[in-house]
């Protein structure tokens, strides 16, 4: 599969082929600009490849009509480096928002949200606003929001990029726990410590090409 952005001199991803099994935990690593974030965008159907196909949950995303995209995204959770929380909503409201905008009732939110906040270790902090939480706690809220709908896949784009090493480890433990519930986790990072500690599958990308694909790998 190849993806070239308009105006780019070379493809962001050049003839890349990767297959990820259900329930796997995969790191995509590589220097900035290597094309690893493009993988997240392709999986989210935010961009489409110029050549080749992207298949997610046995659905061909490449040919998916854009009106089907919202429903498709409900099976995918997403976490980013910058958390992307709503500043004027509490932790609880941020997570509940994700449920309510896809048509879940308030009653469902009242039942599910405290559960998932407990799971990510934020029990008792439901009514704090993002600015009253530490970076690690904010990222936990983001993970809770991504996971509250019980997605099949969790995509994480440098989730530890803004966090100190200790907090990063805690977030990784959380992602690991989510992975153990059967959720496939795809994480893009250049945090070598974390990759080395986790010992999971590592796919290394350089200049848009896969240079390494190793089970139980380290950050080279």
């Amino acid at each position: 599969m190849t993806k070239t952005y308009p105006k780019a001199s070379r493809p962001s991803l050049d003839n890349v082929s990767v297959s990820i099994e259900k329930g796997e935990f995969v790191f995509f690593i590589g220097p900035s600009g290597s094309g690893k974030s493009t993988i997240i965008k392709l999986l989210l159907h935010e961009v489409t490849p110029n050549k080749g196909r992207v298949i997610v949950n046995s659905k061909d995303v490449t040919s998916m009509r854009s009106w089907k995209r919202p429903h498709f995204r409900r099976s995918i959770g997403c976490v980013f480096q910058d958390f992307r929380l709503l500043p004027n909503r509490t932790a609880y409201e941020n997570v509940a928002f994700a449920l309510e905008v896809i048509g879940k009732t308030k009653a469902v939110a009242r039942r599910v949200v405290p559960e998932v906040l407990e799971l990510v270790g934020l029990g008792g902090k439901e009514h704090r606003y993002p600015h009253e939480l530490s970076g690690g706690e904010q990222q936990r809220v983001a993970v809770a929001r991504a996971f509250v709908n019980r997605p099949l896949i969790l995509l994480a784009d440098e989730p530890t990029g803004n966090l100190d090493p200790d907090t990063s480890i805690e977030i990784m433990r959380l992602l690991d726990r989510i992975n153990r519930t059967g959720t496939t986790v795809v994480m893009v990072t250049h945090d070598s410590n974390i990759v080395n500690q986790m010992r999971r599958r590592v796919v290394e990308i350089e200049s848009g090409r896969i240079v390494r694909d190793q089970a139980r790998g380290v950050y080279g």
């Binding site: 919202p70 905008v101 896809i102 048509g103 308030k106």
Partner: protein, 291 residues
């Protein structure tokens, strides 16, 4: 719950940018008022045309030296004409009587004119008043005919004036509509910008497109509906103060604008206001809220 969410978002959105909301409503209201005026003039002119043209007459004045023979020939010809519905002959005495009645306020003028000086004439009612031209062409050269006067030509001037009023109102409505639509587009851009974080999250977690867009489009629709209510109030005010007030002296001239006319035009204004705002809003979102 989703309906409640969307409605509360709409109200919050209108309130957040309240100065723009007011500007948007005022321009929409002025535009819709002008549209309403134009519509009322249009329907009234049709009524008035029916009313006036039905009673309109063409007068064929005869020369002073017209002979008996010429007059009877002409009368026979007019009576046989398929364009003519009714022919009334007005002799000098009859004409003088009418003249006296018409100028009874000016006795000097009446006394200065002798019955003999007034021309005889035929007063024609036409089957279709707009076919005056045919009558004119046909009888102008006829022996004994002095002049043909058509009242409808005067009326045409009046109706041209009404047509001009209608066109000006329509042009004003369009100009104001353009201003209103730009304001709607701008308001929605501002709203989309101030809610960009929410929109990003909604897209990410898979909220449906209509759910993301509905609050913005409805904001424009609500503004359009409020604008049309204000426009209705403006029309009521116009009728009350202008038409029934300062212009009431001219009432006999116009066919009256009833409250029914005004309330009948309201759904048109409301519909135009709502649909045009919605379409503008939706198109704006296509550009500023790529989903």
């Amino acid at each position: 719950m989703r309906v409640k969410y969307v409605l509360s978002e709409v109200l919050v959105g209108l309130w957040r940018n309240v100065t723009m909301t007011i500007a948007m409503i005022i321009t929409l209201a002025v535009s819709l008022t002008m549209l309403g005026v134009s519509g009322l003039v249009y329907s009234k002119v049709d009524d008035m045309k029916d009313l006036y043209y039905k009673n309109i007459q063409v007068s064929i004045f005869l020369k002073g030296e017209v002979t008996e023979q010429e007059r009877t020939d002409l009368e026979a010809k007019l009576k046989g004409d398929s364009l003519v519905k009714e022919v009334i002959y007005v002799d000098k005495a009859e004409a003088y009587k009418r003249f006296q009645e018409m100028y009874q306020d000016a006795p000097d003028l009446v006394s200065a004119v002798k019955p003999d000086q007034l021309p005889e004439s035929f007063r024609l009612t036409l089957v279709n008043p707009e076919q005056y031209k045919g009558i004119y062409d046909q009888y102008k050269g006829e022996a004994g005919v002095d002049e043909i006067v058509d009242q409808s030509r005067l009326l045409d001037k009046i109706f041209d004036l009404f047509g001009a009023v209608q066109n000006i109102a329509l042009a004003g409505a369009i100009a104001m509509a353009i201003a209103a639509l730009l304001l709607v587009a701008n308001t929605i851009q501002v709203a989309a910008y101030s809610k960009r974080r929410e929109v990003a999250v909604m897209k990410l977690v898979g909220a449906s497109n209509w759910f993301i867009q509905a609050p913005f489009v409805l904001e424009a629709v609500v503004a359009g509906l409020i604008g049309s209510v204000v426009a209705l109030a403006a029309l009521i005010g116009l009728k009350f103060f202008l038409f029934d007030g300062s212009l009431s002296a001219l009432q006999g001239l116009f066919s009256p604008v009833s409250w029914g006319d005004i309330f009948l035009i309201f759904p048109v204004m409301a519909g135009v206001g709502a649909v045009v705002s919605a379409v503008t809003g939706w198109i704006t979102l296509r550009f500023y809220l790529r989903v």
